[in-house]
């Protein structure tokens, strides 16, 4: 991996974001620091790489254009994750409307073409897991992805999703049970 030309100190970066002359360079640091974690979070939601790329761009553009509203009360990462999740949900809903799919929790259409995806090299079991995850309700899907793939702390998830830690733990537990039953039903 190429060595970053930036040193990242969140407190400094947030301070620099509030000054006209330093905001742009500070935002470049933010983009470099958060591109990968946000991309993977979005990618697991929208599945397709090109769609994830669009949503990631929209996320950063939205963050940049509303940077004046970010006063540092919450963590920068929390704020960015919130924008990314909202953008992902908006994108999925738009896609559902385009494909005449009801705005329910059924996201199976997202994984229909997974096998043909140029940027997916998973085997049968991984495709099956993605299909199982796609059957989960929106919030459970997010909780599962954040916890299982990103190993995010429940406390951080709680701040991002605005749900109590207890509810998130229960949600993750239910998600695992549903995935297990999906596997046992399709075996």
């Amino acid at each position: 991996m190429a060595k970053s030309k930036y040193t990242y100190d969140e407190e400094d970066v947030v301070e620099q974001l509030h000054h006209q002359e330093t905001a742009r360079s500070a935002f470049a640091k933010v983009v470099e620091h958060y591109t990968q974690p946000l991309y993977w979070q979005i990618r697991r939601m929208v599945i397709d790489h090109d769609d994830a790329n669009d949503v990631l761009q929209n996320t950063f553009i939205k963050a940049w254009t509303s940077i004046d509203n970010f006063r540092g009360d919450a963590k920068l990462s929390t704020w960015l994750y919130k924008i990314a999740i909202n953008e992902s949900i908006t994108f999925i809903n738009k896609k559902k409307v385009q494909n005449n799919i009801a705005l329910t929790d059924d996201n199976a259409f997202l994984v229909n073409n997974l096998e043909a995806d140029e940027y997916f090299n998973g085997d049968e079991a991984q495709i099956k897991l993605q299909k199982a995850i796609a059957t989960l309700p929106e919030k459970q899907r997010m909780v599962f992805n954040m916890r299982y793939y990103d190993e995010m702390k429940y406390e951080d998830m709680s701040e991002i999703l605005g749900t109590s830690v207890g509810a998130l733990k229960a949600s993750y537990h239910h998600a695992i049970k549903k995935i297990e039953s999906f596997f046992s039903e399709t075996d």
Partner: protein, 139 residues
């Protein structure tokens, strides 16, 4: 509240199926995607105007407290002024009450006042008589 069995189950978060699958979802990205993404994005960002937060001076920060203190001081002063005035009045009344017995002139005035008050209790004929006679009406 969740049942204990469910909490115990949540403690053993990992499922055997998930353990077997591992954490690689199988997703890939084009080569140099992340490096190119950052560069392309920064080039395409629009200009924004940042409203810089102006740090308030010490006077601006303490001003509300100073105003409040001044207001309380004002109220206290007003109370002091009014209480002082009331005290003088009471003292004056007490002084009057402690004065010697009324003079003969004062007595005449007091008698006249009593007569006027008594006239209000007379009937029509009595009031005519009272007006024409110089006799004592307090029969």
């Amino acid at each position: 509240m969740l049942p204990v069995s469910q909490i115990d189950a949540m403690k053993q978060e990992e499922s055997p199926i998930l353990k077997k699958l591992g954490k690689d979802a199988g997703f890939e990205v084009p080569e140099h995607y992340f490096a190119d993404f950052s560069k392309n994005l920064m080039d395409s960002l629009p200009e924004v105007t940042i409203t810089e937060e102006v740090k308030p001076s010490r006077w601006v920060r303490i001003r509300p407290y100073v105003y409040m203190a001044a207001m309380f001081a004002g109220v206290w002063c007003m109370m002091k002024v009014f209480t002082g005035f009331g005290g003088d009045q009471k003292k004056a009344i007490k002084t009057e009450m402690r004065a010697d017995s009324p003079t003969s002139g004062d007595k005449a005035i007091m008698q006249d006042n009593r007569r006027i008050n008594d006239n209000a209790m007379l009937n029509y004929q009595d009031s005519i008589n009272a007006g024409t006679q110089k006799t004592d009406i307090n029969r």
